[in-house]
Symmetry: C2
Subunit: 126 residues, 2 copies
């Protein structure tokens, strides 16, 4: 495996079954080892500069079912079972809830096409 | 949209229909505009430092059917129709052809689980 200059590897997170792409994150070596040890996704939070056990606050844990590596050995594809079916901090199923609408007036623009399933204030109230 | 410090945005490429994740690449602003203008994926090649019209040599063009943006507005999900069904330069369907085998002797290791569909020497012989 190849780590980037910051010691990180990009991780694409895909839901087992639906094959929906849920989110995109990074792991460092510690995060990868913690993920393997727990069987649940642990990322490296670049904003908080610390390990982030996904779902530790929200309960939206990701059970790891399969891990794949790309041809250049520098990107991981994580296939997960997403608890509660919500991966995004906005309370949506997937972080990729905006689609490009290229045909409207005024040129291309991003429009929200997936619903909020749970109000974020209810997810993080603890 | 937010571009990273290098003026790039990571792009996850997913096949329409199967929902298989095919590859991972980057776009700069020119690549994004070229992609929208052509209706086919154009990336920024970091190794060659130039625009890369995917399939320009191999014929394995990606017809763009949908473009999505994540909650942080810094990752693109591209849904494509993959010509010839081959995205990887190794002649495989997807670049993510290695899976982690965590149960074998000697600890976790990556094993190739997807077949080569076309010999790469036949793809790039031109």
């Amino acid at each position: 495996m190849r780590w980037n200059a910051d010691g990180l590897v990009p991780v694409i997170v895909q839901e087992l079954g639906s094959n929906d792409v849920l989110m995109f994150a990074f792991m460092n070596r510690d995060a990868l080892e913690a993920t393997l040890a727990r069987g649940e996704a642990v990322y490296w939070s670049r904003s908080r500069q610390k390990l982030w056990h996904k779902g530790e606050e929200s309960g939206h844990v990701q059970k790891v079912r399969e891990m794949r590596l790309d041809c250049d050995a520098d990107v991981i594809l994580l296939k997960v079972e997403q608890l509660e079916g919500i991966a995004c901090h906005t309370g949506r199923h997937s972080c990729f809830f905006r689609a490009l609408d290229a045909v409207g007036d005024g040129g291309p623009r991003w429009v929200e096409i997936d619903p909020v399933l749970v109000d974020p204030s209810r997810i993080y109230r603890k």
